[in-house]
Symmetry: C2
Subunit: 348 residues, 2 copies
């Protein structure tokens, strides 16, 4: 483990730990990416998305762009949750305007032979990108590492791509729960080693994205997602703060809050008071509707202020409730960021 450069801005980490902060920290999910012309220039010079993910110098460069341009309070390493299935033996392709596609999927026990526990060495391109980013950031803001939650990665590995219902993945849960658990276990073991590698490389906080948790009944969430996310949190939380975001699984927030984590991410549809009642003493992250950034500037300011006031200025990290949509104007993002930075809370 390397000696860390002291952070000039550690608002994110203090807010995650529930400490008082001078102001609310702010960053955006998917801030490193398609919204920035500077990102698209680099992306368009390459053969594809994966080349960018797998080239540490360039991944570091696009990771830092939003810190320079949008003045956010954290960087998040540019990568993809699908590097884990990829390293486990299921390569993905990123199809422009469609999303990820897996030529091979897991349909039956016999497909398990395609899978291995990911070798951390296969993911060294991510650790290198983290090391370069930290060097170039020079302590300006914390760097967030991340991984997909095992259930969400399982969805892709069974389904082979995006889906509105993930009914193939859920069919396996209904028909062959043992196989589902075996896949989830392998993903979990791979992910824990991967996140240890990210922390070794120096990330200051880790976020776990359970992007498709919303398709699960609460009892299935408790059986097929929560225990695996728990193992990850138990492994990583002793080392760095952990944020868990199970998008749309709003009736499982109370279950999620029992895990060793600091922060719970919220989508834009869950009322803050409901989330507070479920998430106990955890810090909450979110949750402006990403389409609010399509509105005129005055509206963005108004909606951001309403969101901030609802969280009340404590145990809160400002963010959107979903990754920023790709056709969002960077100027709108700046209005959002600046509104958070300048906001003065009304106290009852």
């Amino acid at each position: 483990m390397k000696k860390m450069t002291p952070l000039k801005n550690d608002l994110l980490l203090r807010a995650a730990r529930g400490l008082k902060t001078e102001r609310t920290p702010v960053w955006l999910m998917r801030q490193a990416g398609r919204i920035l012309p500077e990102y698209r220039a680099i992306r368009n010079s390459l053969s594809g998305f994966k080349e960018l993910v797998e080239t540490p110098q360039l991944a570091a460069e696009v990771t830092i762009q939003p810190v320079d341009i949008l003045d956010v309070d954290a960087a998040i390493i540019f990568s993809d949750i699908l590097v884990i299935p990829d390293a486990m033996g299921l390569p993905y392709e990123m199809v422009e305007k469609v999303g990820p596609y897996f030529p091979q999927t897991i349909k039956a026990e016999s497909d398990l032979k395609k899978l291995r526990i990911a070798d951390p060495g296969d993911l060294s391109y991510v650790y290198e990108a983290i090391a370069i980013t930290l060097r170039e950031l020079d302590g300006r803001v914390p760097l967030i590492g991340f991984a997909g939650a095992p259930f969400t990665l399982f969805c892709y590995m069974v389904e082979g791509g995006g889906s509105k219902t993930f009914s193939k993945a859920r069919k396996m849960i209904a028909q062959n729960p043992d196989l589902a658990h075996r896949i989830l276990d392998m993903v979990t073991v791979s992910t824990i080693a991967y996140l240890h590698g990210q922390v070794d490389a120096g990330v200051h906080l880790v976020q776990v994205f359970d992007s498709w948790a919303a398709v699960l009944h609460r009892s299935d969430y408790a059986e097929f997602s929560l225990p695996y996310t728990r193992r990850i949190a138990e492994a990583i939380h002793p080392r760095v703060p952990v944020t868990l975001f199970a998008k749309g699984a709003n009736f499982s927030i109370g279950d999620l809050a029992t895990l060793p984590c600091d922060t719970i991410g919220l989508d834009w549809t869950v009322p803050v008071e409901f989330a507070r009642s479920q998430a106990m003493n955890k810090t909450l992250q979110g949750n402006l509707d990403p389409t609010a950034l399509y509105a005129p500037g005055k509206e963005i300011v108004k909606k951001t202020r309403e969101m901030l006031q609802a969280f009340g200025g404590h145990k809160h990290i400002a963010n959107l409730g979903h990754g920023v949509y790709p056709d969002t104007d960077p100027e709108a993002v700046k209005i959002f960021v600046n509104t958070v930075k300048e906001f003065e809370y009304e106290h009852a």
Copy 2:
């Protein structure tokens, strides 16, 4: 208005009205369709989905199939929510395994000239299908009519097809709310006339499907969906019982329950106790996870019983929490239906 054949089984209507029933009524969303080989035989003899929707004799036939084969307590007219945009001047195509596609969409005010208030005469094929169905059902079970909620139809008309985020439709809401309201108003006027036509033709109950309501923040739901659903409910509820299903918009159930309706539909992710606390005295419909029907028979029985017991046997219409998935075995559906019919509630 024709004289109605007296119903031999009116469980659905009595449960909708909150009356005590000998047992809980049961039907399934999308029961008329791809799960039945008898349906696929008819469908495959035709040029496409729309031909089936627009041929009254055949639409009636597939409407009655699940009553004959699955022994459900209601029929629902075989049709599609997209007949309204179609009749308004935006024709849709149903692309096999992909879903609906609109060659033309509404992007700007200038596109409004493509739209007209639907002429009820253009939808007479639906009323004819209803008339034939009622004659052939001969009072065995009630017939449900339906329409899409204006917000959900607006989503398709702007987006041009399915989407995970409907960000184009939500972008219009953010950038040009007046245009959104004008489209929603035209859809609402068209839908009210259409549902009056269905009631004139004899349907016993009407369900309004707001399939994409879950993408809206509660305040946007309150502005861009609720008022239009309200106008529909106010127009139709004096004539027949009305069921409202805003899939996934679970933090708006309390708002929905303020409308003049009898029944609120629930998806499979919302806990019954939460829904009861929000929906006041309304009857609830749902909400078995459709993937429960992929499980072995014993599991289907167990999960169905748990679901029934959670609703407690009053003010409840048993259903899935989503349309039955197309690769579901009809035998699994029969197990579900029979489990509901035979269930004996435990009373505290």
